[in-house]
Symmetry: C2
Subunit: 403 residues, 2 copies
């Protein structure tokens, strides 16, 4: 098999851990596979460099930041190459440039535009292990760019797509994707397989093992993604296309997001386009809206409830208070003590009754549901934050995820 293995900052956090990574890569190679390794900077290095830059300026030029930050991954890549050499394995260390990763020019958050895999392909043909500095590429002028948060994962997935790898393994300190957060429900089980779409729903809902950008790219490039831990040999979770999953479970996991706040607009004036006005202004202020509920009262005035990330709440307040001032909205209230519990599973597409079961579970626990939103593979409910863990555990049990 041709395998891309990506190791994050904690996995290469010190020299001993880099040696562990080398051992794992060597074992994979000796088992008869071709291996391309993608590495992050040693944990702490990037933060150190950011602090250095901030010492001089809170808003350093983005191209300078890219030249600065891209150095950390180069260090790890060359060290891992040296470690593998010392074990008798032939390697070639590559910067993003050398690996042919071409990006746009949005410094510090560039997007990969294409990968020229010729150098990698010929190194693989020669039996060499390739060690690539993650998180970076070059734009069409040849300037170094970086890919933003989760950038090394993106590098790995994009490379896996470009060289038609059979597998792209993302090594972290977590052993895979669980049916729910094991810190909340100790009976949570690691999933063997999950579809891209389910993973996307789980990720955006709080299971922060993988950035959505990486999962989306894997889906687009049809890359078989595995998340697993670098600290043991435990098998991880395969994220793949739905067709590759034979037994589709009704529900794959329960996600919890406590980072939500509710904004309730009471008595919204009855004039055409007012909702559009409100949400356009919120969008212009970069407020991310998640769920929206509107109902119209007897007086023709509407109540509109919506949820935003807690971090966007202040911006949201600024926008809506203007509407209250202008007497277009009678009043407004905010609630940060809420959370969102979501049930995710591709099986919902073909099975009915999943939602009803969820509502019944909440009712049995006397938990009031404030808002509901559904998609083909997801049911989300807004409830009081104090019930968060209880709700997760009850739903986990209802759908027999511990079995």
């Amino acid at each position: 098999m041709l395998i891309v293995q990506k190791f994050g900052g904690t996995s290469v956090g010190d020299l001993e851990r880099i040696q562990n990574v080398a051992n794992r890569v060597a074992a994979t190679k000796k088992a008869g596979n071709d291996v391309v390794v993608v590495v992050s900077a040693m944990s702490g290095e990037t933060n150190k460099l950011v602090a250095y830059a901030e010492h001089f300026s809170p808003n350093a030029s983005r191209s300078d930041m890219d030249m600065l930050l891209s150095s950390g991954e180069r260090v790890t890549a060359s060290l891992l190459s040296i470690a593998l050499n010392a074990m008798g394995l032939e390697t070639v260390a590559m910067s993003g440039r050398k690996a042919g990763i071409i990006t746009d020019s949005h410094h510090t958050k560039a997007r990969i535009e294409k990968i020229n895999p010729e150098l990698m392909n010929s190194a693989i043909k020669e039996g060499k292990i390739i060690v690539v500095a993650g998180f970076q590429g070059v734009n069409e002028n040849g300037d170094v760019t970086t890919l933003g948060r989760g950038g090394s994962d993106l590098s790995a997935v994009a490379i896996a797509g470009a060289i038609n790898a059979d597998l792209c393994e993302i090594y972290t300190d977590v052993s895979g994707i669980f049916t729910t957060d094991p810190r909340i429900e100790s009976k949570a089980k690691k999933l063997d397989k999950i579809s891209y779409d389910e993973m996307l729903e789980l990720a955006s809902l709080g299971a922060k093992v993988l950035q959505n950008r990486s999962v989306e790219l894997a889906k687009k490039l049809n890359v078989n993604l595995v998340t697993r831990t670098s600290f043991s040999d435990e098998e991880g979770t395969l994220i793949t296309k739905e067709e590759n999953i034979m037994e589709k479970p009704l529900v794959s996991g329960i996600a919890l997001d406590k980072n939500q706040a509710r904004v309730s607009l009471i008595g919204v004036k009855d004039r055409p386009g007012i909702a559009s006005d409100i949400f356009t202004k919120l969008s212009n202020s970069n407020v991310n809206i998640d769920m929206i509920i509107q109902n119209v009262g007897h007086d023709g005035k509407a109540n509109i409830d919506f949820t935003v990330p807690v971090s966007d709440l202040n911006d949201a307040k600024m926008v809506v208070s203007k509407f209250v001032e202008d007497a277009e909205v009678d009043g407004v209230s905010y609630d940060e003590n809420i959370c969102k519990v979501s049930i995710v599973g591709v099986g919902m597409k073909s099975h009915t009754g999943v939602a009803a079961k969820a509502f019944a579970t909440m009712a049995a626990e006397n938990i009031n549901i404030n808002m509901i939103s559904t998609s083909e593979i997801k049911i989300s409910m807004i409830i009081a934050e104090k019930y968060a863990e209880l709700a997760v555990r009850s739903l986990h049990s209802t759908y027999e995820l511990d079995k």
Copy 2:
């Protein structure tokens, strides 16, 4: 003026010192000059990375080492660019690649083959300060190379030549070139100017402010080189071509080299080519020979004395003991307790009596001269090491270098 300023590792050793460098560069710019800055890695960084590599392997691949080590200068260059930006100055940070520095493929000790200065020239035209990562370039395949010890100085000199800079300032922790080592003779004076050839003689004899490679390159490219300190505004020493120095002093400086050992071959067999045999074998063993004296005795057998760096003495012993075994040489003795004192000055070319004065000075101090060698601008004497400081001070006074 167009000025290249190079700052070594101690000058950029921490964030405060980088800020000091930024202040100096800014002042140079604001005085109406165009500035290209060349920086080394923060002191300690390169050693740290070398130690990391050695943790895995004592003989890491040279291309891996280059990828590893070149990162330190990139960090400093981007940080200095950020610091200058924060002071309101327009900058562009460049890796060796971006600065157009093309080298051969001798990784870890590459030679600069050419510089493509187009990007630098257009940035200068736009009034920008260029900050270049020193010590590095790329070979024709686009792989990163490093230039070996003193590499950042070489980068600076080569860039100064390529962009026709008026001045190339090398900032270190020493304020310039002195008539002799001030730790030996406190009356030593800083020289305002010195010729390339004098500097080359002084450097190879122990005044370790500048690597000879840099001085040779400056001479070849006709670059006006200045060594000065980054810790004060004190003027440094200009190293330039002889024609630029109006008043040529008879003697410019006294150099001392304690790192010498003498090998004495007694009774060397009288056969054609034997001296050639001996010195060819020494050369093949990478023993650097400095001075050689041969005299033929009454029996037709010769005595040959030569000096080598102390570090090469063991290799030299291996070679010559073979000749003793083969009965081609009667005996051999070694002396590590010697030193070489040298008097350097372009004025010697046109003045006689400089050597006679040196010998008279040694005689007056009862110092025995073991070996003598001379060039157009230099007289070197091998004497017992215990007289080293006395000899230096006496000669310094004889030639009135303290005046």
